[in-house]
Structures are given as C-alpha cells and as structure tokens.
C-alpha cells in the first residue's frame, strides 16, 4: 500500500517524536565561518578572495615545474637527441610527422629548436601533455578537489544566484561551470542537476563555447601568460552576454534555487588524493592519445597541402573578419581534437599581441573538443544541434566584435 504525501509526513512526525531529540549545543567555529561565507557583506569579499587566491596559486605554480625543469628536459635533451637518433631527416615525411616539421629560415629548411615548433608526434605530442599540461592541471585539480571537499561550492551558489538568474540559470549552475574549468566532459554530465530542459541546454551551450578547460588554461599560462587575464575576461563576458540573449530567445522558465548548504568539513587527504589521481589518469588515458593523434592529423594535412588549401579558402574570413593571420586555420583544425594542442600551435605563429588574443579566444569558443562534443551528443542530440547553431553565430559575431574593438582602439 502507498500513503498520500500528507499521511506519510504525519507518520514521520510521529516516528521522529519518539526517536529523535535535538538537544542544546553551542555553535562551533565551523558554523560561524559557514555563516560568514554566505552572508553577502562578508561572503562576497571572501568569494572574490577565494577565486583570486585560486588563480594566483595556479598561475604561479603552473609554470614552476614546466619552466624550471620540463622545458629544459624537452628542449635541451629530448629534442636534440631524437632529432639525431630518429632515422630520416627534415626531407622525410615520416620524420616530419614523428619528430620535426622544421621551419623556413632565410629560405632554408632548418630544424626546430623547441618542442613548441617541431610539431612531431614524439616531440610536441609528448611535450604538450606531459611537459606543460600535466603539471598545470595537477595543481588545478588539487585546488579544485579541496574546494569541493570543504563544502564551499553550495555557498558560492547562493552568492551568485541572482546574477545567474539573469542568464536563465540559477546559482547551482556554478557547479557545472567550475567543473568545466577543470574539464568540460564531466561538466556537461553535471548539467543533470539542473531542473529544466532550457537550463540544461543553456548550460551545455555556454560550457561548450565559453568555458576553457584546465588543459587549455595550463598551456595558455605557459605560452601567453601576459594575455591570460584579457582572454578570460573576453570569455566570461561572452558567457554572460550570450546567456542573457539565449535566455530571452528561448522559452521556458527558470526555477528557483532550492539547495542544502552542507556544513564545512576538513578535506580528507585520502579523498583529495584519490580524486586528483582519478582525474589525472583520465587525462592521461583520453587526452594524451588525442594530442598525439592531433599532431599526426595536422602534420598530414600540412604535408599533403590540405592545410594550405584550407588557409587560402578561409583566408579572407580570417584576415578581414577576424583580423588574424590565415595560418590560424591550422590551430583551428587541431582544436577539434584538443584545445591545448591548438594553443601550443598558435604560439608558434607570428602575430601581434592583439591578434594572439583574438585567435586564442576563437580557438576557445569556436568548437568544443571532440570529447565534449560526444558528451553533449550523449546528453541530448537536439541540444547539440542547438548548441552548434549558437556556436557558429557566436564565433562569427564575437570574433568580429573583438576585431572591431581592436580597430576602434587603433591596435588592429
């Protein structure tokens, strides 16, 4: 037999009267902090401090291992060694794919002297994931795990609720958003905690387009640290503006937030370590093969002339509309596979600071990486089509807009 809702609660009241007693107790420090972090007057400054702290630790530690140790290892030892040890040479296509494509200097083809330029599967293909991204996402995932385990996210959700309502979401959308900065794949699945279809669609679209993942942040921190702030600013701005417009265009209501705010808890070392390890091994298993595959595909496209053909085909759009060199087409192809690889590739193209910012923003927004793409497809085919439409529109409009800003500032 089944009870009605009211009868069930009646029964529960009777049971709990006989079995549960709430005795007096003094509130603990944890609870005091809990309240301080959720009251706007104290909570908002704390939230800013927490996010800023997160950011500064990430940016100072991410490059620490890479610059201090791994770059040397790869550029001074691994690259010269494999350039000599691998059979063939710059005029052998297989050598080009695996080790080094070389580059033109004073009309002659010369070997590359860094793993950013060589673009072989065994050089850049290993350097990007192991030398740059791995240390960066290690520190990123570590801090994220601590943040998750402490119990801060629900409080952040309460603080940002009002703002996110403006873009058709509610505070809890901060969870997929923050997860997305780690990796978009679990973030897309996490949209399941949002109640309506409209919310899920909005969230997936915004994640896929505007939230750069940890790997991408890591490589950006390494190759273009000075433009990082500007790029993130552009992306977050796009996130809100696009969300605002989509919210107006798509029908459907945004439900109110209704969440428990769990007590703070000391993070459990073992749990934090396990989580970091699980996520890193996920990266190694999925990302590394994709980076290497990406290197090979891009390499083949260069060798067969496909890339030049694409560059000439889309060249006018790139140079006139977005204001970036037509060579950017290469990284955009790579970005289908991995955004980190695409950014690495961009860094080797010669362009101005402003063109660099535009092209990195383009690489970020123009297409979610293959894994994210597959995940959105899994969560909803119709959603994917919608997301793609929004994506094409926002890439063109937003890319053009940034170009326009540079023109107006007189720096394009």
């Amino acid at each position: 037999m089944e009870l009605t809702v009211d009868k069930r609660w009646d029964l529960i009241d009777k049971i709990s009267k006989q079995t549960v007693k709430f005795k007096k107790y003094k509130s603990t420090l944890k609870e005091v902090i809990g309240e301080l972090t959720v009251k706007p007057l104290t909570g908002i400054p704390i939230a800013i401090a927490v996010l800023y702290g997160f950011w500064s630790v990430f940016s100072s530690f991410a490059g620490f291992f890479t610059d201090g140790f791994l770059v040397k290892l790869f550029d001074e030892h691994w690259l010269p060694w494999i350039q000599g040890a691998f059979p063939g040479g710059l005029h052998n296509w297989f050598y080009n794919l695996m080790v080094d494509v070389g580059h033109i200097q004073n009309g002659a083809l010369v070997p590359s002297n860094s793993c950013f330029e060589s673009f072989g599967a065994l050089t850049s293909g290993l350097f990007v994931p192991f030398g740059v991204v791995l240390p960066a996402i290690f520190i990123f995932y570590l801090m994220m795990a601590v943040l998750e385990d402490v119990g801060y996210l629900p409080r952040l959700a309460v603080l940002v609720d009002t703002v996110l309502h403006k873009i058709g979401l509610h505070g809890y959308a901060i969870v997929p958003t923050i997860l997305g900065f780690g990796c978009n794949v679990p973030a897309v699945t996490a949209t399941r905690i949002l109640e309506t279809r409209k919310q899920r669609f909005l969230m997936m679209t915004l994640l896929g387009i505007f939230i750069p993942c940890g790997a991408q942040l890591g490589i950006m921190q390494e190759v273009i640290p000075e433009y990082m702030g500007l790029i993130i600013l552009y992306l977050l701005f796009g996130y809100f503006v696009t969300g605002f417009i989509l919210n107006k265009v798509f029908p459907g209501k945004t439900p109110e937030i209704l969440i428990d705010v769990p007590p703070y808890q000391k993070p459990l070392t073992r749990n934090v370590m396990t989580k970091v390890w699980v996520r890193l091994s996920g990266f190694l298993k999925i990302a590394v093969p994709f980076v290497i595959l990406g290197c090979l595909i891009v390499g083949v496209m260069y060798l067969t002339g496909t890339m030049d053909w694409l560059a000439n085909l889309f060249g006018p759009i790139f140079t006139h509309w977005f204001g970036v060199p037509k060579e950017t087409v290469g990284p955009l192809v790579a970005a289908f596979m991995r955004k980190d690889l695409a950014v690495a590739q961009l860094s080797a193209i010669e362009m101005t600071k402003y063109q660099m910012v535009t092209s990195v923003v383009l690489v970020s927004i123009y297409f979610p990486c293959l894994a994210t793409f597959a995940m959105i497809l899994k969560e909803g085919g119709k959603e994917l089509l919608g997301a793609l439409a929004v994506l094409v529109a926002s890439t063109f409009i937003y890319g053009g807009l940034i170009h326009l800003i540079w023109i107006l500032l007189g720096v394009a």
Binding site: L3, K14, V20, F22, G151, P154, T189, E195, R200, K275
Partner: protein, 175 residues
C-alpha cells in the same frame, strides 16, 4: 542478489559505495556529485554481490535528470535489497524517501550515516526504537572512517520488506 544504495544527495552514498566495493567514484561535499549510476561488486558470504551507487534523490518523484536516474535504477532492480542511507542530522527528510521505498515493497536496511556530525550537533537518535517501529535494521555509520560498515554489511541479508500498515499501527496511528 543486488544491493542498491539510495538516499538524499550528499549523505555519503558514494563514500559507502567506495568502501563496499573498493572503487574510486567521485566524492565531494556538495549535493549532486553523482549524476549517473555506477556498478561495483562486493563479497557477501563468499558470493559476489552487485552493488549500485546512484545519484541522490529527495523522493521517488524525480525533479531533475540526476534524480530520474536514481528512480529508474530502483524501478529496474525490483529484486534488489535497498540500503537507505540517511543523514543522521536530517532523519525526518531521510525517512520520507525510506518510507516510499518501503511502501514499494523493497527489502530495506537503513544506514544512519554522518553519525559523528549528529553527535557534534547533539542530536540523539534512539536506534533501537527506530528499528522496532520500522521493523527493518538500522545501523549507525560513519562512512568516512568505516565505523559501523561491518555491521551494516552483516545486516544486509537480514533486510526484509515490511507492510506500511504495520508501521502506522506501531506508532499508534491509523491508515
């Protein structure tokens, strides 16, 4: 036999799942960490038993996709023993879902988790009385330290389905 872990969000289902099966599903301190189900195996009296971790749900009427997964898993595993995990600081709410599951006829064991937090908040729960009223095993547990897990496991085979009328009568009410 199958064991299904059900409960509200953030009550410690995934911690318990990891302990029972030795896997590493994600555990975080916010509701809605788990959004899909995971299957694992544990040994129970020298037999391999399937254990399923699902997203947290407030009731059997899902309000989002994550809750849908949980309810679907319950409905798909009619033969499962359900371990209802309750946050000991929120017994009343936890009982709502538990009663719904009991009403559906599933054999149930209750894990009164976060026992340490309830103690800190000076919340006293009369476990024996609760057991007697509900007619199903109730085991206080602290999933993160492992306390009470052995006992919980030993009670799994004692799980049985009870008639809701019996419970109503025991507290002196009428249906």
């Amino acid at each position: 036999m199958k064991v299904l872990l059900m409960g509200h969000p953030n009550v410690g289902k995934s911690v318990l799942f990891n302990r029972l099966t030795g896997t590493n599903v994600t555990v975080s301190n916010y509701p809605g960490t788990t959004v899909d189900y995971t299957k694992g195996y544990m040994r129970l009296e020298n037999k391999e038993v399937e254990v399923i971790d699902v997203p947290g749900t407030f009731s059997l009427e899902p309000k989002d996709k994550a809750e849908e997964v949980a309810v679907k898993m319950l409905k798909e595993n009619r033969d499962a023993v359900v371990v209802c995990i309750i946050d000991s600081t929120k017994v009343e709410r936890g009982l709502y879902l538990t009663l719904q599951i009991i009403e559906e006829g599933y054999p149930v064991v209750i894990s009164s988790n976060m026992w340490d937090v309830a103690k800190d908040k000076n919340i006293q729960i009369d476990v024996e009385k609760l057991e007697q009223i509900l007619g199903v095993p109730v085991v206080p547990t602290i999933a993160i330290s492992g306390e009470g897990i052995k006992e919980l496991v030993s009670k799994i085979k004692k799980a049985k389905s009870v008639e809701i009328e019996t419970i109503v009568k025991k507290v002196g009410g009428e249906t």
